[in-house]
């Protein structure tokens, strides 16, 4: 088996997408890890749906407080300029287009950019949480995920078979073997993990991808 990028490295690649001054909301799992990799010299304002903007990383234990936990339950540090607000305002920010980038995990993504990330039929129940609002409202949706499931099932599909979170919302897919952009012409393979060829990535991707004319190794 060829080496795949680990979760930290996927997060590192995603964080390269953050523009200076961007307002960013991170989902759980790999997306949450991207907070550790904000490029030097750039300032990113993180938004948590439970009502915080502008918080920092995990503080040392003595400074942790139950009043200052992100949506994932992880303590954050208080930074100058941060603010607190209620849920109606928090989601007004999301739907109102005031959040620049949402990084989400996914169970499936379609070639049109449809996203399925809240449940799968066998579970019989699932958590929509804030995912539908984020997917419908944020300016850019970046998916960070492993390219296939642990059982080897494909996740980038012609059409999602799981219940959708939102249709035609995903702009960029960053995985452990590739960076794929969703365009109106279809999926475009932009970058491959070290040692992977376009054909090898295509073998794990159901829709036929276009190959970027400047296809390159994932830049870290």
């Amino acid at each position: 088996m060829k080496a795949r990028l680990d979760r930290q490295t996927i997060a590192l690649r995603v964080a390269k997408e953050f523009e200076d001054g961007a307002v960013v909301n991170l989902g759980g799992g790999i997306p949450a890890l991207t907070a550790n990799f904000v490029p030097e010299g750039k300032t990113v304002i993180f938004h948590a749906e439970n009502g915080v903007l502008g918080f920092g990383g995990v503080p040392p234990e003595p400074e942790q407080s139950p009043y200052f936990l992100g949506a994932n339950g992880v303590p954050f540090s208080r930074l100058p300029g941060m603010s607190f607000f209620d849920h109606a305002q928090s989601f007004a920010m999301i739907r109102g287009g005031h959040i620049d980038i949402s990084v989400l995990g996914a169970l499936q993504v379609s070639e049109k950019g449809d996203l399925a990330n809240w449940t799968f039929p066998e579970r019989g129940i699932g958590n929509i949480g804030g995912a539908m609002d984020l997917a419908a409202g944020c300016r850019r949706i970046i998916v960070a995920m492993e390219h296939v499931t642990p059982k080897g099932q494909l996740k980038i599909l012609k059409k999602c078979s799981y219940p959708l979170t939102a249709s035609r919302c995903v702009e960029l897919i960053v995985t452990d073997i590739a960076v794929v952009q969703v365009t109106s012409d279809g999926l475009v393979l932009r970058e491959t993990a070290p040692g992977w060829t376009a054909e090898e990535v295509q073998a794990f991707t159901e829709p036929k991808m276009l190959i970027s004319i400047d296809l390159k190794e994932i830049e870290l």
Binding site: S65, P66, F68, P75, D86, H87, I125, G129, A166
Partner: protein
């Protein structure tokens, strides 16, 4: 004026009848849950309740949302006591798939009903209810199972769903400080659904970490003006640690 300060949590929830619709505040973390009011409602025992809540008691027993993973009280104790008929919520399933919660088990067994609401739609439906509106159109949920049976309109070229306002008979709210007029301030992440739900129920019951004299809170920083609040109870151990 009749005092809003109640001597205890049990007195504050004693008139909640069977079949009532109850909003329970917070996102799902320890400090944002009105834990003492939830326990009092469990002891009170009202049955057949509809709860409007972000998470259906899915975080407390797992200790997700507290420091050091310490378990805390949430809606799950009402479910274990078979008091909930229906949940209107965005997070009904356990946060750890291998450890299904009480709501999930009852729902999958056909013993509890569920209305899925995306989190932002839930907050806005409650806000609309408190603001006297009938509903609103939102892009959230278009093309998903949430759009089932909902009116759809194209507004400014974008498909949107009609969502109706939510109101409740009672709201259980957590606040940091309350004055005796019922003015509330929150701390850190505590506003979440608390500040929204405090506007949308006939009877709003607040669990405050501290009750202070009227006039002690700076009017410039009040988040929930006192007219929204009916009952206040002070926590015995003022803070969650």
């Amino acid at each position: 004026m009749k005092t809003k300060v109640f001597p205890g949590f049990h007195e504050a929830v004693a008139d909640i009848p069977d079949g009532a619709t109850i909003m329970i505040g917070g996102f799902g973390h320890a400090v944002d849950k009105p834990q003492n009011l939830i326990r009092a409602l469990r002891d009170h025992g009202a049955k057949g309740l509809t709860m409007i809540v972000n998470g259906a008691g899915v975080s407390g027993s797992l200790g997700i949302g507290s420091l050091g993973g310490k378990p805390f009280i949430d809606e799950e104790i009402l479910l274990e006591n078979r008091q909930i008929k229906k949940a209107i919520c965005s997070v009904p399933a356990s946060l750890v798939m291998s450890k299904p919660g009480a709501f999930e088990r009852q729902y999958l067994a056909g013993e509890a009903e569920l209305e899925y609401v995306p989190q932002g739609t839930l907050a806005e439906r409650i806000r609309a209810g408190g603001a006297g509106l009938g509903g609103f159109y939102t892009p959230t949920g278009v093309g998903t199972l949430v759009e089932k049976d909902k009116e759809k309109r194209i507004i400014d070229g974008e498909e949107m769903l009609l969502e109706f306002a939510l109101r409740a008979d009672y709201a259980l709210i957590k606040a940091h400080r309350a004055d005796k007029m019922g003015n509330l301030v929150y701390r850190g992440i505590m506003r979440s659904f608390n500040a929204v739900m405090a506007t949308a129920a006939k009877v709003v019951i607040v669990e405050a970490e501290q009750i202070v004299e009227t006039g002690e809170l700076d009017p410039e920083i009040i988040v929930t003006p006192g007219i929204f609040v009916d009952r206040i109870v002070e926590m015995p151990n003022r803070r969650e640690e």
